[in-house]
Symmetry: C2
Subunit: 201 residues, 2 copies
């Protein structure tokens, strides 16, 4: 096959692809607040949510972030976004539940955190709400799943919500518009590399 043949075949293949994709784009006209769920065991769930925070801020939107598990205040994401007046950032955890080892305390912490999230979910001035690591509070039954899903369902119609964490429930996935399962193919941590600033925190 000559270079010209290759170029022409490429052009024809790409023309067909363009037709299909243009048609998909033509049909996708709906604009509304989305519920995105980022789950699975792989790296990238919270960082993807924070990438959307940057996108939203770049468009001048207001953003609310609830970090439900983390208690540390030295993460790069908080240092970076918390100085932006467009962000309302809340670190709401007591550490991971295997650190506290105290179920009653964890439930009280979860309830306090959820009150902050509920306020965001009823504020139409807040255009993106990130509920980071919320799934753990549901799978450990620290929060009532029905109550949480109802608050998400009743939020302002143009508000986007991103929920992260392993083990998203079927009910949460059912309610969501976009769901990605981050599959852990390989992780440096298992090869003995510690969590590193800029990558993991």
């Amino acid at each position: 096959m000559t270079q010209d043949d290759r170029d022409q075949r490429h052009r024809q293949r790409m023309e067909r692809k363009k037709t299909v994709i243009d048609e998909q784009i033509r049909k996708a006209t709906d604009e509304r607040g989305l519920l995105l769920v980022l789950t699975g065991n792989g790296k990238g769930k919270s960082s993807s949510a924070f990438g959307m925070v940057a996108r939203a801020l770049g468009h001048g939107l207001k953003v609310g972030v609830c970090q439900f598990l983390k208690s540390r205040r030295d993460t790069g994401e908080e240092a970076y976004f918390n100085r932006d007046p467009g962000v309302d950032w809340h670190v709401l955890g007591d550490g991971f539940t295997w650190d506290t080892q105290d179920r009653s305390q964890d439930i009280a912490t979860a309830e306090r955190g959820w009150a902050v999230a509920e306020a965001m979910l009823s504020d139409s001035g807040c255009q993106l709400v990130v509920l980071d690591e919320l799934t753990y509070l549901l799978s450990y039954r620290y929060l009532d799943s029905g109550k949480v899903l109802e608050a998400i369902r009743r939020r302002p119609p143009m508000q986007h919500v991103v929920v992260t964490g392993r083990g998203a429930s079927d009910a949460l996935i059912e309610l969501a518009d976009t769901v990605t399962e981050m599959r852990d193919v390989k992780h440096a941590f298992r090869a003995g590399v510690k969590a590193q600033p800029g990558v993991d925190l």
Copy 2:
């Protein structure tokens, strides 16, 4: 089972979990530049890379970003990060290859873009390099895969590199430290929702 029983069982379970996790953390002592590959068809690859950009900037690191396919200059991520003096941001694409439909032009564009990436990959002052949508340039053979992998392999030892895009090659996955496959469980686009600022761009 009484509340006290439940609390105690929880505590015992969490103690065992803490022992396992503390041991994993104790063993993970290595610090070095990582190669992260975010692939698969699901949403979240580029946004996860941009979340790591925010983390890195929050720790005062210098960051380089190459967007290999995008030609648009109106994304939220660029608007947000480009004003930060810690970021060297390059939009290097001509649009998607099915828009240009011109293989020779795409190859020339890819080579020009790769020269920018190569400069970052040999600059030890740049602590995080994002090669956004690089995989397409490899799978369409616009760039020589051997050359690309060699430049990544020879980078400064403490530099992190994030590669995003569908269809990462076996060779790239083999070289990587951390690989996540973003599995597309559900996508609002297929339900007729258009790409939205703050979520998709």
